[in-house]
Structures are given as C-alpha cells and as structure tokens.
C-alpha cells in the first residue's frame, strides 16, 4: 500500500518530463483537462436561487434537457439572457460573512458557451432581494442597458450601461414595481399601486428625458394583475388574479389599454391564473400559455398550475387545456410548434412539446433535476 500511494503521489507530483508512468508500456495515462465550451445548440437556462449561499444558472440543451453545466451567481439573485443566448447577466447579493457583514450587490456578466463569468458591474446596494421574477432585471431591446429593480423598500430602477460596465442612474419609481422595456429605444414602463402604469423615456446615455402616466388600467383592489408580462405583436400583455387579460400598448410612450377580456369566461370550476412567471407567448404560433389552477380564491394566486392553457390572443379563445404537475413558472420557444418549459416547486424542470394541429396541446417530453428556488427560465435560439 505504501508503494501504491507513492506511485500515486508521484503521478501527481511528477516533474515535467519525468517518464515515470511511461515506463509502464501497456498503459498511456489519460490527461486531465478543462472542457473549453459546452456543446453548441439551443439551450434552456434556469436560475437556481439560493438564500444562504451561491445560486447558479443551470444550462440544459433545449432539445433533450442534457445538462451542460452551471454558471456561478450569488444570493437572492435574478437572471436575464440576451436574445442571442450567448450572453447572460445575473444580479445578486454578496455579504462578507454570507448572511451578515459588508454588503455588495453586483451584476455578473456570463459568456454562456464557456459557462464563464467574464465581467462584473457594481450596483448601488438597493437591488430588490426577491424571488425570481423576470420583470426585476431586464435588458433594453438593443442590449445597451440593464434595468435593475430596487426595493429598500422604496422602489427605484438602476440603469446600467452594459458597454461601460457602470451604473448610470437611479430612477425613483415610488409605489411602482416591475420593469417592461420598450421594443425600441430605451424607455421602460412600470406597474403602479394605483392601477396605472408609468413610462420613463431614456436618452441614448441612459438618463431620464421624460415620464408619463397612464389612465387607470386595472382595479388594484378587486382584480390586481400579476407582474409577469409578455409581448404580443408589440403590445404588453398581463393577466389578473381573476383571469382578465389586459392588452396594452406602450408604442407612443404612454401605456394605453388596447383590449381586456376574461380568459375564464364560460369555464366551470373557478379557474384562475397562478404562479410566478406564469405567462409566456409563442410569437410565431400566436399563442399565449398561462398557468391555471382550479377552485381559485383569495390567496390562491401563487398556486402552481394544474393546467396550462393555450390562449389565442387575437381570437380571444382558449385553444387547449393541458393538465400539468404543479408548474409555477413558464417559458416557451418561438418555434412553429412551440416547446414549453415549466418549473415546479419540487424543484424540477419540465419540457413539453406542443401540437399546433390540436390547439397547441402539451405533451410531457422530459424532466431534469434542478436545485434551489427556481422560478426564472429562458430558452435560447
């Protein structure tokens, strides 16, 4: 045994060029390396949030849920992925003693193909430490700015210049929550506790040039909306606790109501939307997927989905209702036959294919193990 151990240590300690092991002619030692990049192809990224340690972004192959590896984040963080799927950003918290002591909040910049942190941007120490919600951390349409939701508990938004790697400005947004960037330029809107939206126009440098307020959009007391939002043909779409779908336009710099309709009209069983990032729109297919639960009532709005409904926003009809297992958050690909990914509270990542010929009915097509509190996922091209 002593001899074995010494051979082993020698293998480890071998001075370059020493032909120690090569003397064993029948065997060629393997080489330890670091893989340079993940396999190419479209991915699903899942933010695995932690509240007493390092969270991470798990990367899975879109087509087979093959696990490709982790990117490192911090505590109570958020994720946003660039449209090309090659760059991602994480926003999170670090304390000197993990749960106490000197407090830092940063954006980590990720190169997805190499699963690497390639940069870090310091933030004003005000970022909201919340469960994962897409509207907490957003990228402008052109990728020039990141918007960080702050909550101290006063609400504000930090604008980060991604090219310069610095925080440019903090914009007070008292009483409002969630960030919805415009489809062009650098404006963003936010939902306010009065049932209105505010929209902030930003210059090319990321500074505020104007602010507008919408008319009343929803009733905060009788039918509040979820902050989970989707873009449908350039419009913003939200659903309410009671199942009202609000279609809004922010095209002219002020949010305006376009249409509003109950998606549950005529349905038995007190069905309602529920979960965290609970809606996702497949643009090519023109279908909005919504996580729904039955027997809804006060306090059920975070219930995970028992069914996922495929809703035709234009036609205003429910195309299909697919039973699922406790899905609390969704994301969907932009294929002709969209592939939908769900996050359950177990936690588990679920993959579903959809059938355009059958109203986009979902079929379970794989699951993968995830860790932590996972409520944000993104599909890449």
């Amino acid at each position: 045994m002593v001899h074995l151990e010494r051979i082993a240590l020698c293998a480890l300690l071998a001075v370059a060029g020493t032909p120690a092991l090569a003397q064993q002619a029948e065997f060629t030692p393997e080489q330890l390396t670091v893989r340079d990049a993940i396999d190419p192809g479209p991915n699903v990224l899942v933010y695995q949030q932690e509240w007493k340690g390092a969270g991470s972004i798990a990367v899975f192959g879109k087509n087979d849920l093959a696990f490709k590896g982790l990117m490192t984040s911090g505590m109570m963080g958020q994720m946003v992925v660039a449209p090309d799927g090659r760059r991602a950003y994480g926003q999170s918290t670090f304390m000197k003693r993990i749960v106490y002591g000197d407090f830092e909040q940063v954006v980590q910049i990720y190169d997805v193909p190499t699963l690497s942190v390639v940069g870090e941007i310091a933030l004003p120490p005000k970022a909201a430490m919340t469960l994962g919600y897409e509207p907490m951390f957003r990228l402008s349409a052109d990728g020039a700015f990141l918007y960080v939701q702050n909550g101290t508990p006063a609400a504000s938004v930090t604008v980060v210049d991604t090219a310069k790697g610095t925080a440019v400005q903090e914009i007070p947004t008292p009483g409002c929550w969630g960030i919805y960037p415009s489809t062009a330029g650098h404006a963003f809107s936010t939902i306010c506790g009065t049932g209105t939206f505010q929209t902030f126009a930003l210059s090319a440098e990321g500074t505020v040039t104007g602010k507008t307020q919408s008319a009343a959009i929803f009733d905060v007391d009788t039918d509040p909306i979820f902050i989970s939002g989707a873009r449908v043909d350039g419009d913003l779409v939200f659903v309410s606790f009671n199942g009202t779908l609000h279609r809004l336009s922010d095209a002219d710099g002020t949010v305006k109501a376009v249409a509003s309709r109950r998606i549950t009209d005529g349905v038995e069983g007190a069905w309602a939307p529920g979960g965290y990032n609970l809606i996702a729109y497949a643009a090519k297919a023109g279908v909005l997927f919504v996580g729904m639960h039955a027997n809804a009532g006060d306090g059920s709005h975070k219930n995970p989905a028992e069914e996922i409904w495929a809703y035709d926003v234009k036609g205003g009809t429910v195309l299909s209702r697919s039973p699922v297992e406790h899905i609390a958050s969704l994301t969907v690909s932009d294929d002709d036959a969209p592939v939908l990914f769900g996050l359950s509270e177990e936690p588990k990542l679920y993959r579903f294919t959809s059938d355009p010929a059958a109203g986009f009915t979902l079929t379970a097509a794989g699951t993968a193990a995830i860790t932590g509190f996972a409520s944000v996922a993104a599909v890449t091209p």
């Binding site: 109570m76 106490y100 830092e104 101290t152 006063a154 400005q169 903090e170 905060v220 509040p224 975070k302």
Partner: protein, 180 residues
C-alpha cells in the same frame, strides 16, 4: 385619521424621491431608506406591552396547546406568511430568535382569528443576520398578498432589506391591529 396616513405616506414618497434621484457613489451597507428608517421606521413597534415570554399565547389560548399550533403552517396568524417559522426556530410568534435582528420593515396580512371571529392585522417581520432557518417549517400562504406595487402587502421579498444584516433567517407574525 386618513389625513395622518396620507401625510406620512406623502413624506415617505418625497423623501424617497429626493434620496434616490442620483446613483449613490458609495457602496455603504445601508441604503438611503435604511437610513431614513432609523428616523421613520425605527420608531415602529414601540414597546406597548411588557416584555413578553408567553409565546404569544394570549390570542391563541384554545384547548390543544397554543405552542404546538404556532409551530404549524396552518395556524391562523400565518394566513399570508412566506417563510420559515421563527416560533420553531428559537423565537416565538412575536420574538426573533436570540442573536438575530428584527426587520425594520415588514409586510402585513389580514387574518381571521377563529377563536373570536375577528380579523387581525398581522405584521410579518423577518428576523435577520443568520442563515435561513431550514430546521424550522417553511410555510407559504398568501391571503390578501399583492405584488410589489403594493409593497406593504408583498411577501416575495426579503424584508431584511432595510437592516444592516440582510441575511434572511425566519419570520414572525405579530398582531398589530384589528381590521375594520
């Protein structure tokens, strides 16, 4: 009384607006509001009762044992609690565990006490500066809970946010008022 609330909220908003107009250049541990909190929020939860070791049993004195009830997610006070129970982590319904800090800010739920049929305002304060208390049950209920645009009713956020030590440990459920 509404005027008083409005005055306080207006002042709150004005302070916020002024304090957050530009990005703070320092990376200090305490945000503007945390500082504001020393003045505005620090006075919250003034001692109105003598130091209490009764485990909050006064409002739960039903046969069957209030202490045991307080260790279950189903206990009536926990109708909008998203977190780990301090009552099962060395604290009580109204006490943070030794060595932790009570959060300076909190969300509020409205829960019906089955013993008297009345609706109570429950302040869900987080206790801070220690690891999440996974030894204690994790509960998630959301009666009356609202998204962050109604921050005072929102339970998805770390309410240790305005404290010096921001690690989330557990959550208490303090009766602060009777609903009308």
């Amino acid at each position: 009384m509404t005027n008083l609330f409005d005055a306080i909220l207006d002042r709150f908003d004005r302070l916020t607006e002024r304090g957050t107009r530009a990005v703070a250049k320092t990376s200090g541990r305490r945000s503007f509001l945390a500082r504001a909190g020393s003045a505005m929020l620090g006075g919250a939860m003034m001692p109105l009762l003598p130091f209490d070791r009764t485990f909050g049993q006064a409002f739960a004195a039903t046969p069957g044992g209030a202490v045991d009830e307080a260790l279950q997610c189903e206990y009536w006070r926990y109708c909008a609690l998203d977190g780990n129970l301090c009552s099962a982590c060395g604290g009580s319904l109204t006490q943070c565990p030794p060595g932790s800090e009570a959060s300076k800010v909190a969300w509020v739920g409205t829960c019906r006490n089955p013993n008297d049929g009345k609706d109570y305002l429950v302040s869900y304060n987080d206790c801070c500066g220690k690891p999440i208390c996974d030894n204690s049950p994790f509960c998630l209920t959301s009666k009356g809970e609202r998204p962050g645009y109604r921050m005072g009713l929102h339970n998805d956020i770390n309410w240790c946010m305005a404290n010096t030590s921001k690690g989330y440990h557990c959550t208490v459920a303090v009766l602060v008022g009777l609903a009308e």
